[in-house]
């Protein structure tokens, strides 16, 4: 079905600011689902709290808008109960990696077949532009007026180390690539992490003098490079994008549990 | 019947809690009696002081803890030193002759039996020490029958150890029968 039919149009206009990258991520996500021809009843979208989490309200799936940071934990309950469902978990950077960081690494460790989309705008937008665990060292935020002294996580390296079997990064500038990556992530038989750099002109852009949405997206164009490219060797400050990990060989959690049930039933009989 | 209050004490890993469970279960499942089993313990899985309590009666048991036991068993000196004072006057205090040096000022019928040494000598498996102790307790008190406890052993002791545990039970009962 056309991807626009996946929307709950009565809730538009959405709450996101003009220029916010999250709408692009939503568009990419729905196009990916359209390409996979997944029915509305076969998708459960679980989100936490923050600007990104409001994505749940706008899509005509089974939608579960939960607590800050806890989306993956709720999603684990849904997925383990009905493994046939496509469980997609859009999260913000603070949501996924600060308050939800523990759930993030453990979901990756289990390799449970869900799609985690980290919409990384390097700030807490909904609460007014505070620094997040993905704000860079030296960034400014409404509560980092003298510069951020924290260091940021590299989501790709974190997800890889924690055991995720599909790890990718893209940006809102590279919308076609983002769609393709999300499509592969949803089809992946294991825990998939997709980081999408998504601009927040209202807070992050303004506080860090990055200009408006268009300038921020141009920054993504000029400061990222395909994974493994020569450009990265010449300029190590470039951010790589593309698919970093794609491993269908590691046992998936729901499948492992199914085998455990068979063992238990054999033992009991 | 007279309400029987029992405390097994020793170190973590000696199996005093298992022995208490087997005894209480035998009373409930195989003799139609009421029984409660509780324990108090510290953070250690092995070592430390462990205390398991059993009440056996023919009427409902409300308060399930034992403050003054009719039957007290001490399998370490630490347990003896700590608990020998709580014995109900005229009760039975059983200890192991290798592991505990009894003192004389306790108002109880004291028995110091070579349970540990006999288990090592006759069976060679220290793991059934607790069942030997249970045999001695039954030999001295006849709270429940050896048959009932043997039925409980069947459900609690895995296959290969069942035979040695029944031998340990009989060994303990035999040691008790030698007391005058």
């Amino acid at each position: 079905m056309p991807f626009k039919d996946y929307l709950r149009k009565r809730f538009f206009p959405h709450i996101w600011c003009p220029g916010c990258g999250h709408g692009i991520v939503l568009g990419c996500l729905l196009r990916a689902i359209e390409q996979l021809a997944i029915g509305k009843n076969d998708v459960v979208m679980v989100s936490g709290i923050g600007c990104s989490s409001r994505i749940c309200g706008y899509v005509d799936f089974h939608t579960l808008h939960t607590l800050h940071g806890r989306a993956l934990a709720f999603a684990t309950g849904v997925k383990m109960s009905v493994p046939r469902l496509n469980v997609i978990v859009p999260m913000g950077d603070g949501d996924a990696l600060a308050i939800g960081g523990n759930h993030f690494i453990h979901a990756a460790r289990r390799n449970i077949a869900m799609t985690a989309i980290v919409m990384n705008n390097r700030t807490y937008g909904m609460t007014g532009g505070q620094y997040s665990p993905l704000s860079c060292h030296g960034d400014f935020a409404t509560n980092a007026p003298y510069g951020n002294i924290d260091h940021d996580f590299d989501v790709v390296e974190l997800a890889r180390a924690a055991g995720a079997t599909f790890v990718a990064r893209s940006t809102t500038f590279h919308a076609r690539q983002t769609t393709e990556i999300i499509r592969k992530a949803i089809a992946h038989p294991g825990f998939a992490v997709v980081e999408v750099l998504s601009q927040c002109p209202t807070y992050y852009g303004r506080k860090n003098k990055q200009g408006g949405a268009a300038e921020m997206m141009e920054w993504y164009r000029d400061n990222t490079t395909p994974v493994g490219s020569k450009a990265k060797q010449q300029n190590p400050t470039l951010i790589e994008r593309g698919i970093f990990v794609q491993d269908a060989g590691k046992p998936e959690y729901c499948c492992e549990y199914k085998k455990l049930v068979e063992r238990a039933r054999r033992g009991a009989s | 019947m007279e309400r029987c209050r029992i405390v097994f004490s020793g170190a973590g890993g000696q199996g005093v809690i298992t022995a208490a469970i087997i005894l209480a279960e035998a009373a409930v499942l195989h003799e139609g009696l009421e029984a409660t089993q509780t324990q108090s313990y510290g953070p250690e899985a092995r070592g430390g002081a462990t205390r398991a309590e059993v009440i056996i009666a023919d009427a409902p048991i409300r308060y399930p803890k034992v403050t003054q036991p009719n039957v007290l068993v001490c399998l370490t000196q630490e347990a003896y030193n700590k608990y020998s004072g709580i014995i109900r006057p005229g009760g039975i205090l059983l200890s192991d002759s290798r592991l505990v040096k009894p003192q004389s000022k306790v108002d109880a019928r004291q028995a110091s039996l070579p349970m540990y040494d006999s288990v090592i000598k006759e069976i060679g498996k220290p793991i059934v020490f607790n069942i030997c102790m249970l045999g001695s307790v039954l030999g001295m008190t006849r709270i429940v029958s050896l048959e009932s406890v043997t039925k409980s052993l069947q459900t609690h002791i895995p296959g290969e150890f069942f035979e040695s545990s029944t031998r340990a039970l009989a060994l303990g009962a035999g040691l008790a029968s030698n007391i005058d």
């Binding site: 607590l67 009905v82 | 409930v28």
Partner: protein
Amino acid sequence: MSAGLKFVQGNEACVEAALYAGLQFYAGYPITPSSEIAEHLAVRLPRVGGTFLQLEDEIASICAIIGASLTGCKVMTATSGPGFSLMQEGLGYAIMAEIPCVIVNVMRGGPSTGLPTCPSQGDICQARWGAHGDHAIIALTASTLQDVFEITVHAFNTAETYRTPVILLLDEVVGHMREKLVVPEAGAIATVDRLKTSLKLGMDYHPYLPREDGRLPMSDFGGQHRYNVTGLFHDMWGFPTQEPSMVHGLLRHLVDKIANNADSICRYKEYYLEDAHIVLISYGGSARSALHVVENRRVRGERLGLLELQTIWPFPYSVVESKCANARYIVVVEMNMGQVTRAVKRAVAHPDRVVLANRIDGVFITPTDIRNILRLIQGKGV
């Protein structure tokens, strides 16, 4: 477990009852003195095709069971005080989103990590007010293993009936003690199944529109009706709203659905109350010590009685008031600094006649502790 006579631990009785009630999904995190619940379920649930998960913490555990409940499963988690503290945000979510679940708290000494292996009943008020914001809550407890079984089934039934989390407050004594349990035959205790919508595809399903009887039929996630679930105030479709009349209506509904049904939710037991001059009020493990005292004193002709509460929240004010109407003294026996005593004082006509008999040192309250209080109020000295 087959029906019939068993000799088991309290935590195992809770497990057997949960399976009897239809438990299909458990997620938890290890914590003394509740861990045996997880250990038994790890064996039992896979055998019936259910799901047992150990997750990264108690927060994840309660969130996972809420997610699983939405797919139509009966769900449970078990913990103790420190884990129960972590579960409060998930508990609030389940209250707001009206998701049936059972949370077992095998209480130990607190605050903080407190006394991991020792008994206490210090979480009574946390069960009531641990989650932020106005809300109603159901909390149940039990003193014998037979009652643990029946009350656990009641907990699942109540959670389903009212679409709400139900807290089962056991304590270390009851959780760890072993005694006789007679497992009833299947069907001997009624179990309440998930009420599911009968609306067919194409009909507009309203997940948050109560029927005339006040109940809200559910539709499984993954089924034919798609809707939204949120912890925000929401409309009858489950979508966020700040419209004052809807906010007001939802909060009233969340509180009233429990308050207006307090009589059906309320369970208690009474012993020798007809002519009692002194009424003991107790619950959980403490009620065993209280009953011990009452029975011993009755033999001597003293007019003591016991009211054992099995429903703590909603607090059975009218039951306590009527049962204590002729009491000269009311002695509340509990292992905390008077958490139920405060509610009893609000319930009775003469709060000055309410006395607390407690123990807060990690030692199970003894009949002697209670007798000493009785002697004091009778003017006999200790």
